[in-house]
């Protein structure tokens, strides 16, 4: 089967406009007869649900949390990109497009990325109109900050809680539609299968997580905004409940899963402290605007620090290795995430890590305290040479910018980051891979859409900072509402989709069998036991550096672990009640399949690109080495066992951008 990305004709800059001018529309009276299901209420799902309801469709929205406001988009910290060029620093739609394609290591689809850059401005307008309280300058206009991998300041933010503010904006738009009865909200519900009737997605099977009841819901189209799959690593910055189930079930029903091996390991997270750890916490990339990353130059200092005999603040400048500034003078501490993570790993592998486990580097704000402190002292007419005063004023400025992050760090690590440098280490954060979609954001199953992190389309092999929020809202507010209309215009005479068809029977039976098996299994190990084992395999063999041998081992080990899971997992309680262990077991069962496909995809991709680093493919300086023959999207078709999946290739063509070595030097 050939993959058709359905990219519209015409010059890049005109494609989206031409497309919108020529699609079929649904008239308002007909929209009232059309139902759409939206899974997930994060930035993508929430904004899509609100907009579709506002256009007149009947929307049913589902989330596993107790309220749509709790979706994990809420935890995004740093900001959202938009090509507004408010700073007059040379930004433009083309430059945002260019940065995103380059940042993604030339593995994303040109037309999708250009559209994303094009609608980015509109997102900011929309959010301000909704009352999202972005950071402002004293003149009352919107403030910007810069992020990794770019040379302009195009990131809009709300302290270190930008995701929260944007999500609450989408939530408020949903609330307006829930109040009007146009969205029917299903909290504490988990989608456990997608129902395909006559080749089209026509509904879902969901489980009410409070009563355990299995429900059938039908619709004319199903939209998956169910997020990423970083929790396949057990430890990640994702929420505890974030899972791949919706996307994976769609995959098992025929939707192709694209580039599963493209995972973002974020450079600035709080290091792991012990075996009890349940999740990892991110320290926003925006901190790299003001923090400088370093490790000691001398091994003696490293040893003294680890033994607790030396404080980092006592190490003089000349004995510090600001390795990002050293290796990448043009971008310095603001290189993209994949580059920064690998550089941290390189130093720690060489033995320069600064905590007990040897897996941490410093993020130091001392220079920023000086810089900001002097500026503020100057503005206030105070003594710029008073070191204590300057430091205090500088700390004040940093507190205004990142106060919540510093507080979070202190609570977790029990060290005051205003007085001693933060310790950070890379952790799994975001997954660029996801369900394959065409330009319409439709999977290869007609009527099944995938938006936000759940799809694969915009970030290639590496996502730039502050672009996830942009993509989520672009998909939900401005792209999907158009593209889905073109599809639904053929459904105006279909009428309500019945839920008593054999397809619904079969899907429900399948779900119930799995639940019955798990609850009656009575094995000897908890769900977490298996999840942690899977996470270890993934981190060691499919993490920041991968090689063929390790990946082959991972495929075998994950497959064995999966068999053991189904034979030996223990799920307490019953089906007909709130049972978190049962919900977890269903999610981990899917991670145990996805993990295997992930390793297979990484094995097949004999190159290094963005977040996918194959040890066999690197330059003499240890940078990622791409290969022109892999300039394609790997879209996998399910065949019963993940390792038997069939590869389909979507060749990537770059007509508006020159593919060259990605350099940040």
């Amino acid at each position: 089967m050939a993959l058709d990305p359905k990219i519209p004709e015409g010059p890049l800059a005109d494609k989206w406009t031409n497309y919108k001018n020529h699609i079929d529309l649904v008239n308002p009276a007909n929209k009232r007869n059309i139902d759409v299901i939206v899974i997930g209420t994060g930035l993508a799902g929430g904004s899509a649900a609100a907009t579709l309801a506002e256009l007149g469709y009947n929307v049913k929205a589902f989330c596993f949390q107790d309220s749509p406001r709790r979706a994990h988009s809420i935890a995004a910290q740093g900001g959202i990109n938009a090509a507004k060029n408010y700073q007059g620093d040379g930004d433009s739609v083309y430059r945002l497009f260019y940065d995103t394609v380059k940042g993604g290591d030339y593995r994303s689809r040109e037309a999708n990325v250009y559209r994303l850059a094009e609608v980015s401005s509109n997102i900011i307008d929309q959010c301000v109109a909704q009352g999202v309280p972005f950071a402002r300058e004293y003149g009352g206009y919107l403030d910007n900050r810069s992020f990794g991998g770019v040379l302009v300041s195009r990131t809009f933010y709300a302290a270190g809680q930008t995701g929260q503010q944007l999500l609450l904006g989408a939530y408020s738009a949903m609330n307006r539609q829930i109040g009007r009865g146009k969205i029917k909200m299903y909290n504490r519900h988990e989608m456990l299968d997608v129902v395909v009737v006559g080749g089209k997605a026509r509904g879902i099977i969901a489980r009410n997580l409070v009563t355990g009841e299995i429900e059938r819901h039908s619709a004319h189209a199903v939209v998956l905004g169910s997020g990423g799959y970083g929790n396949v690593f057990f430890l990640s910055t994702n929420a505890m409940g974030s899972n791949v189930t919706a996307a994976w079930k769609a995959h098992k029903r025929g939707a192709f899963f694209a580039n599963p091996c493209y995972t973002q390991i974020h450079p600035t997270c709080i290091p792991v402290s012990g075996d009890h750890q349940s999740k990892l916490t991110l320290m926003s990339e925006s901190l790299r605007n003001d923090g400088r990353i370093w490790v000691p130059k001398n091994m003696d200092d490293v040893k003294a620090i680890r033994e607790g005999n030396l404080k980092p603040t006592a190490i003089p400048e000349e004995n510090r290795d600001y390795y990002l500034e050293r290796r990448y003078p043009a971008f310095g501490n603001l290189v993209p995430r994949d580059v920064a993570s690998r550089a941290a790993k390189e130093r720690c592998d060489e033995g320069y890590g600064v905590n007990k486990t040897g897996e941490a580097v410093y993020l130091d704000f001392a220079a920023a305290f000086q810089r900001y402190g002097k500026e503020r002292a100057h503005v206030r007419g105070l003594d710029e040479n008073d070191a204590a005063l300057v430091k205090r004023l500088g700390q004040e400025v940093i507190k205004e910018k990142y106060g919540n992050l510093f507080q979070m760090y202190e609570k977790i690590v029990d060290q005051n980051p205003y007085e001693t440098p933060m310790m950070i280490y890379p952790a799994v954060h975001y997954t660029m891979g996801g369900l394959w979609v065409d330009y319409n954001l439709m999977t290869n199953i007609p009527g099944l859409y995938s938006i936000g992190e759940a799809n694969f389309s915009d970030h290639g092999a590496n996502r730039l900072g502050a672009s996830a929020l942009m993509q989520g809202l672009a998909d939900g507010y401005f792209v999907l509402p158009y593209t889905i209309g073109d599809y639904l215009s053929k459904d105006i005479r279909t009428g309500k989709i019945p839920t008593d068809s054999p397809e619904f029977d079969q899907a429900e039976k399948n779900v119930k069998e799995n639940l019955d098996h798990l609850i009656n299994n009575n094995g000897s190990h908890s769900v977490d036991y298996f999840h942690k084992k899977l996470g270890k395999i993934m981190w060691n063999k499919c993490g920041m550096a991968r090689n063929a041998e390790g990946l082959r081992e991972a495929i075998v080990q994950i497959s064995e672990l999966r068999k053991e899971f189904w034979k030996d997992v223990r799920v307490p309680g019953t089906q007909n009640e709130l049972n978190e262990e049962l919900a977890k077991a269903m999610r981990v069962a899917d991670f145990l399949e996805l993990g295997e496909l992930f390793a297979k995809d990484a094995l097949q991709r004999e190159e290094s690109a963005g977040g996918h680093f194959r040890e066999e493919h690197q330059t003499a300086e240890g940078e990622a080495l791409r290969s022109p023959e892999f300039q394609f999207v790997s879209a996998w078709e399910y065949q019963g066992e993940p390792k038997d999946a069939i590869l389909h290739k979507e060749e990537l063509e770059y007509e508006n951008i020159e593919v060259k070595e990605r350099s940040y030097k």
């Binding site: 935890a75 829930i178 977790i412 309680g573």
Partner: protein
């Protein structure tokens, strides 16, 4: 460290609950409170008993899922943190810790420590929004300048995570801090002024219908709020409400 836990166990909304004692050992000060409960649950599962149900998700203090009334305080003894960010270093070896759900008429218990906070959502449905079409074209963002002080105050109010600690801490189970945070966020912005009258009237009406109590200005909510939402918001909402009643 070694601890005695007294945890509220309740099968479902229709049955009576009670405090049950558990002994737990080997707890490290670097664990979060919820990681300590993970350890307990792991042990219960291995013994063939039912784990303790509690709400949690992001575990970084922002989603508002986690709750818990710990030794008589919402989110426990530390200040400006949610339970997921509360660390065991706040306790000492040999301590007895009481763990109960957030209690309020408007937050019925679903199971063990899990409560239904749907009433908060319904208050938001009544008016927690600005009526702007998300699919439409709006004006350029910088054509609406906002005084930085107002924008910052609006942001501070908007950082409410909707956890319900304010309600659980209030002797009247009042939701005034929660509702006033949303009312304030919009009242402080020019975009929010247009619907200000309807918003405050509708949200307060819904708040009353949900069975939340009245505010008697004890300020317990502000002390226990993990995000430090200020009582000033309640004063602002009262002003908004008063002026809306005259207009309305």
């Amino acid at each position: 460290m070694k601890l005695t836990l007294k945890i509220w166990r309740q099968k479902n909304a229709d049955t009576k609950g009670k405090l049950v004692d558990y002994q737990i050992d080997g707890i490290d000060g670097d664990m979060s409170f919820l990681e300590m409960l993970d350890v307990l649950n792991g042990q219960l599962i291995n013994k063939g008993e039912e784990p303790v149900a509690f709400d949690h998700d992001c575990r970084e203090g922002i989603c508002g899922s986690c709750s818990l009334f710990i030794n008589g305080e919402a989110h426990g003894p530390d200040r400006l943190v949610t339970t997921c960010q509360l660390h065991m270093r706040m306790f000492k070896d040999g301590d007895t810790i009481h763990i109960e759900p957030f209690r309020a008429t408007a937050f019925p218990v679903i199971k063990d420590l899990v409560v239904d906070r749907g009433s908060f959502d319904r208050v938001q449905h009544a008016g927690g929004f600005i009526s702007v079409n998300t699919s439409g074209k709006t004006v350029d963002a910088n054509t609406i300048p906002v005084n930085k002080h107002d924008a910052d105050m609006s942001f501070m109010a908007a950082t409410c995570i909707g956890c319900g600690a304010c309600v659980a801490s209030c002797k009247n189970s009042s939701a005034m801090l929660f509702v006033s945070a949303k009312v304030s966020q919009f009242a402080l912005l020019p975009q929010g002024k247009i619907e200000a009258t309807e918003r405050v009237l509708n949200m307060v009406k819904q708040m009353d219908e949900e069975g939340f109590g009245n505010c008697t200005n004890t300020g317990a909510c502000e002390v226990e709020c993990p995000k430090g939402i200020s009582l000033e918001n309640i004063a602002r909402m009262n002003r908004e409400y008063l002026s809306a009643t005259f207009k309305g």
